[in-house]
């Protein structure tokens, strides 16, 4: 489903950031 409102998009971004930050932290990957 495509997010159409600002609130929906910001909520989606926060959820995805929480998910990806954990994945990237667990992988211990950092790019200079």
């Amino acid at each position: 489903m495509l997010q159409t409102s600002l609130d929906q998009m910001q909520q989606m971004i926060k959820q995805e950031q929480a998910s990806y930050s954990k994945v990237i932290r667990d992988l211990q990957v950092k790019v200079d």
Binding site: Q3, T4, I13, S19, S21, K30
Partner: protein
């Protein structure tokens, strides 16, 4: 009838390269131009009724170059960014140095599309979690080979 918001033409900044690799150049270029035409055409129809929309390709660092350009542009609504979701949810945690805070310097306006990327392995490879695959890849000799729609590293 033009509004004040349309007195200055819009700049639509694309963070996507015209092609990620020479092999995929034709397909990627077609897709990117389609996205640009779709977005620009929609803006013309919805917002500015006949005003020109400049499509500006600023490729590099997984969208960071385009994001920084838009973040530093005057805050008058005339410079928009078309970026991938990874710009907002992966780059902040992947890159050590960043010139833009996507949570503070940019504001989402619309979702233009949705897709899924997956990490796919041969089913006989005895790893069932990304971390185990990374550990195996780091120890592999010779190095593991992979194929990707993105640029080669």
């Amino acid at each position: 009838m033009a509004t004040d918001a349309c007195a200055v033409n819009l700049t639509l900044t694309l963070s996507l390269p015209a092609c990620f690799s020479m092999d995929a150049c034709a397909l990627r270029a077609k897709a990117v131009r389609w996205i640009g035409r779709l977005a620009a055409g929609s803006l013309v129809a919805w917002v500015c009724a006949g005003q020109a929309v400049v499509v500006d390709n600023k490729v590099g660092s997984k969208g960071q170059v385009a994001a920084e350009f838009v973040a530093r542009a005057p805050a008058n609504g005339h410079t928009l960014l078309v970026g991938m979701d990874s710009l907002f949810v992966i780059n902040p945690y992947l890159y050590a140095l960043r010139g833009v805070d996507v949570n503070q310097d940019l504001m989402p306006v619309a979702t233009l599309g949705s897709n899924q990327f997956v990490l796919a392995l041969h089913p006989q490879l005895p790893v069932k979690a990304p971390a185990r695959f990374v550990a195996r890849a780091k120890k592999s000799n010779p190095p593991l080979a992979y194929a990707s729609a993105g640029r080669r590293h």
